[in-house]
């Protein structure tokens, strides 16, 4: 009979308390998702290319899991507390009827266990489903058919989820049970909300708001202008200021709201308007701390989600392969490679085969060995012209020696980047044979260079040097064209004046990273042979997967097939897959955890708001009885309730939105966030914002419906409507 009571109570509390149960299920699902990360298709796929990095990433997961456990513990504690509060009257009655406290607590634990088991089943099912969906979506989005699908179900993850969840649930129940143990029966029977209406003095409230605003302003200022000073210390300062500011602001606001309510005589007299405001005020003023905490959580969640989204946008833009041309690069013995690549099993996969010849330029060899080598290149005219072309501020820094060493970055002007790129390699620049480059140009459908005898062109690595366009560099081209027209010599090699071809289209020289150079001189073959340092001479065999095959099967699967054949051959090679995999890894590593944490924060914040509202609702239930006796219609009360829910969610949300937007701005201006791809920015930003909104709305609706249900239950006396 006792066990049946436990079962029935567990069942009833699940039914009555959907939000509580949903919270438990969410917690379980969150655990499972993070724990089953290793079974995600994309992770399995990346293991093949970036196994070290992936292992490192997975090794960090316990930290994330621990953090999630920590956060969800508080959520569970809060949910259980809410649940016990709801039922304190019932418990009081049991005790009055003679049940011993030990027994009551035992019963609670037993009920908790049943509920937990059900939550575990539900949570693992939902978590498993979500993990599967995420796995499929991600591999659909990036894999284009190459990432094979495995069921992401992971027994290890399930076991860890069960252990983690049961332990925090147990600890929470023991803590709360202990509290129950020391509570007086009277307290349980007549627990009510604090009746004290502490409105504070208007001065105190203004002071709170003022202090809050000052803290917030300080935080915003730091975020916008001084974010990365003192090695990130200011970030912590900004976070603390922002949190304190939010806390004070909301505290002051809650109380001020009451005073404003007093002042706004006229407008607020329609219907339950005044009542609604007072309820809202009570909810905010009496629990300003937890409202502020939710606001902070939502702020963090907005920033984290934006961060995750930007990583995804970054990936999408690099995935479009603007500069990368070749799918494979094979190196090794020339004959062997050529023979293999033209053999029967490979021909189907090879198109635009290009033997790239590259090497460094000799230096003047008259000088002794222990003196720095002297370059054959004389480029002072070009160098002066480039310096002249830099913007004023950079020029001053450069000439005064403030710029020492070069950092190539997209914050510099084109001229400064070019200067740096050329200067670093000028002693013995890389040389590329013209025919090699002509074959590359041919592959992209451009005309060959046909260089004259003393003519050359610059090659810049598009992966390392920021370029707006791959086919021209405005500043350089202007300089080159001007010199051409005026017959001026900008550069000479071994005392031979060279003319420099402008507007040469630029593409990646190899499939991935086997050649990592900043710049090179493209010179006629005869000159290449004459000037190249034999010790640095190298050849690379590049090719592409034929267009036809790509059209038929997509890029990825022929690439995987070719890769398998090459692997078997034992030749040294690299492929675009590595490039792709690396970028994908950055995205996965960068976005998975941030997005996960972001959504976790959001869900926790929403749950706190929801439970808090329902607690207030429950505790002030008799107010609604009174209202209906004074003639309020059910519809009227529901409307008031919905407004309250709206306000309760909107207040912390709006403050969080302001803080979040400023946080995002700060991160953009300090280059911690990039939104490179404008085209994708809006759809992705919009879809993430939409997902966040949907989550908040789901919570809002769930709370409203629960509140409606409470109102509907008011018909304990048949006539009230």
């Amino acid at each position: 009979m006792f066990s049946r009571l436990i079962y029935r109570n567990a069942k009833r509390s699940r039914k009555e308390n959907l939000i509580y149960f949903a919270t438990l299920v969410t917690a379980v699902a969150s655990f499972y998702i993070i724990l089953s990360l290793g079974r995600q298709d994309v992770i399995l796929f990346l293991r093949e290319f970036e196994s070290d990095a992936i292992d490192k990433l997975l090794n960090q997961m316990p930290i994330v899991y621990g953090f999630a456990l920590f956060l969800l513990f508080f959520l569970i504690l809060f949910a259980n507390q809410y649940q016990l509060n709801r039922r304190s009257k019932e418990f009081g009655t049991y005790l009055i009827l003679g049940m011993r406290k030990e027994r009551l607590i035992l019963q609670l634990l037993a009920e908790g266990l049943i509920t937990s088991i059900l939550a575990l089943i539900g949570g693992i099912l939902i978590g498993g489903f979500l993990a599967e969906m995420i796995s499929l979506t991600v591999s659909k989005l990036v894999g284009q058919g190459i990432i094979g699908h495995h069921i992401s179900l992971s027994i290890g993850a399930i076991i860890l989820t069960i252990i983690g969840f049961l332990s925090i649930q147990c600890i929470a129940l023991i803590i709360l049970g202990g509290r129950l143990f020391t509570q007086e029966v009277h307290q349980m029977l007549y627990e009510e909300m604090d009746k004290k209406q502490d409105m504070g003095h208007i001065k105190g409230n203004l002071l709170h708001i003022l202090i809050g605003s000052i803290f917030l302003a300080a935080a915003y200022w730091i975020v916008l202008y001084r974010f990365i000073d003192f090695g990130g210390l200011f970030m912590a300062v900004a976070f603390i200021c922002g949190s304190l500011g939010t806390l004070f602001f909301i505290r002051g606001f809650g109380k001020l709201l009451g005073l404003l309510t007093n002042l706004s005589e006229k407008k607020s007299t329609k219907g339950l308007h005044r009542f609604t405001l007072r309820q809202f005020q009570e909810n905010i003023a009496n629990r300003s701390t937890s409202v502020a905490v939710t606001s902070i959580l939502i702020t963090l969640s907005i920033i984290l989600i934006a961060n995750g989204a930007s990583t995804i946008i970054g990936f999408e833009s690099s995935f479009t392969r603007t500069s990368s041309l070749y799918d494979f690069t094979v190196s090794g013995n020339d004959e062997e490679v050529e023979q293999f690549l033209t053999s029967g099993k490979m021909t189907a996969y090879v198109e635009d085969l290009n033997r790239l010849e590259i090497g460094r330029m000799k230096t003047e060899d008259e000088l002794g060995e222990d003196v720095l080598p002297v370059s054959l290149v004389e480029w002072s005219t070009l160098r002066d012209q480039l310096i002249k072309a830099t913007p004023k501020s950079e020029q001053e820094d450069f000439l005064s020696g403030k710029i020492q060493g070069y950092t190539i970055s997209d914050e510099n002007s084109e001229a400064l980047n070019l200067l740096g790129t050329l200067e670093t390699g000028i002693t013995s620049p890389y040389l590329i044979a013209e025919t090699s480059y002509n074959r590359l140009l041919e592959a992209i459908g451009e005309k060959p260079l046909n260089l004259a005898e003393s003519e050359m062109a610059f090659y810049f690595n598009p992966d390392l040097l920021p370029m707006d366009e791959l086919d021209n560099m405005p500043v350089l081209d202007t300089i080159l064209e001007k010199a051409e027209n005026e017959g001026e010599t900008l550069l000479s090699i071994a005392n031979q004046a060279m003319s420099i071809r402008s507007s040469v289209p630029i593409r990646g020289l190899v499939a991935d990273r086997s050649i990592e150079i900043f710049s090179a001189f493209i010179v006629p073959d005869s000159m290449f042979d004459q000037l190249v340092n034999e010790g640095t001479y190298a050849t690379y065999w590049n090719f592409r997967i034929p267009k036809k095959l790509q059209d038929q099967q997509g890029l990825m699967s022929p690439m995987m097939e070719a890769r398998d054949i090459l692997m078997a051959s034992g030749l040294e090679f690299e492929s675009y897959l590595q490039n792709f995999g690396r970028q994908l890894f950055y995205v996965v590593a960068g976005s998975y955890t941030t997005l996960y944490m972001g959504f976790l924060f959001l869900i926790i914040a929403c749950t706190i708001l929801a439970l808090q509202f329902l607690t207030q609702m429950k505790q002030t239930r008799d107010r609604y009885v009174t209202l209906s006796l004074l003639g309020a219609k059910r519809q009227q009360m529901k409307k008031s309730m919905h407004r309250q829910v709206l306000c309760i969610f909107l207040l912390p949300m709006s403050l969080a939105c302001i803080s979040g937007v400023i946080g995002i701005r700060g991160m953009i201006s300090f280059a911690m966030l990039y939104f490179e791809n404008e085209v994708l920015l809006y759809p992705i930003a919009f879809s993430f914002a939409a997902v966040v909104m949907v989550i908040v709305v789901i919570y809002g609706v769930a709370v409203s419906r629960a509140a409606d249900h409470e109102i509907d239950k008011l018909n304990w006396k048949p006539h009230i409507d």
């Binding site: 009746k195 004290k196 209406q197 409105m199 007093n262 006229k266 007299t269 329609k270 219907g271 339950l272 308007h273 005044r274 009542f275 007072r278 309820q279 005020q281 009570e282 002030t620 107010r623 009174t626 209202l627 209906s628 006796l629 004074l630 003639g631 309020a632 219609k633 059910r634 009227q636 006396k717 048949p718 006539h719 009230i720 409507d721």
Partner: protein, 259 residues
């Protein structure tokens, strides 16, 4: 509005609680009229059915059978929409536990019925001031119930029950939670409201002192009315109080039995 001579008619009211096995017959056929401008008291021991009777009249619970007519309209047969119209506007309530919303100020509590019914506020302000003045609560209008004494709270509740100019005020043990002094003050106020503005009041009580302010008292036991006492023209309240005590002693052979 033309005031009906018989403002309230209660006809053979019956109310049963519970199902077959444990049926409680709380009201076993009660009939009486309340005239316009009357201050009618209902007395009875605990469990005699007073609250049930008042709640039936107040439309808080539905009677098992019988009718309640207010101004000739059968309000016990009203649907929920009509009921909401009546509550708070045509019927004012005064409860033992005051029934104030503790997160609204005194003034907001008083004006609540008007807000709910979307009534005009401009006129109400004058009325509010007058009521507040009369009930001596002007100073505490901006306070919250927790900042008021019990007597003040009940007078605020009284103001709320009167603000919408109802046809009848129903009070269930309004002095039940008050000390003697506050109780007396409240009853004085109610009495003079009844006298000066001909407001009809129906009050349930088991306190003879409070009952002595009424103009007529019905005695109820086990769900039926078994006696009636009228205050004579010009009779002093103290005299009437003596008579009530006497009657209670006669009826029960000691007040303990009856009350």
């Amino acid at each position: 509005m033309v005031r009906h001579e018989k403002l309230l008619e209660v006809q053979d009211l019956q109310k049963n609680y519970g199902k077959k096995d444990n049926l409680t017959k709380a009201l076993r056929g009660i009939s009486f009229d309340a005239l316009s401008g009357e201050f009618l008291g209902i007395m009875g021991a605990s469990g005699s059915g007073k609250t049930t009777l008042l709640n039936c009249i107040a439309t808080i619970i539905k009677p098992t059978s019988g009718r309640v007519l207010l101004n000739g309209k059968n309000i016990s047969a009203f649907d929920s929409k009509d009921l909401a119209e009546y509550r708070g506007s045509r019927i004012g309530y005064l409860f033992q536990d005051f029934g104030l919303l503790d997160n609204l100020t005194g003034q907001e509590n008083i004006l609540l019925p008007l807000s709910i019914h979307g009534m005009d506020f401009a006129k109400a302000n004058a009325q509010l001031n007058e009521l507040a003045d009369f009930l001596e609560i002007t100073d505490i209008l901006d306070k919250f119930p927790s900042q008021m004494s019990g007597g003040q709270q009940q007078r605020v509740a009284a103001a709320r029950s009167l603000i919408s100019d109802p046809d009848i005020v129903l009070a269930d043990e309004p002095t039940g939670a008050l000390d003697t002094r506050s109780a007396k003050k409240l009853m004085n106020k109610l009495e003079s409201i009844n006298k000066s503005s001909k407001r009809t009041i129906l009050m349930v009580t088991h306190d003879p002192n409070a009952a002595s302010f009424c103009s007529r008292i019905l005695f109820i036991q086990d769900g039926i009315i078994f006696h009636e006492l009228r205050r004579k023209q010009g009779e002093a309240r103290e005299k009437f109080y003596e008579r009530i005590l006497q009657l209670l002693a006669q009826l029960g052979g000691g007040s303990a039995n009856v009350l």
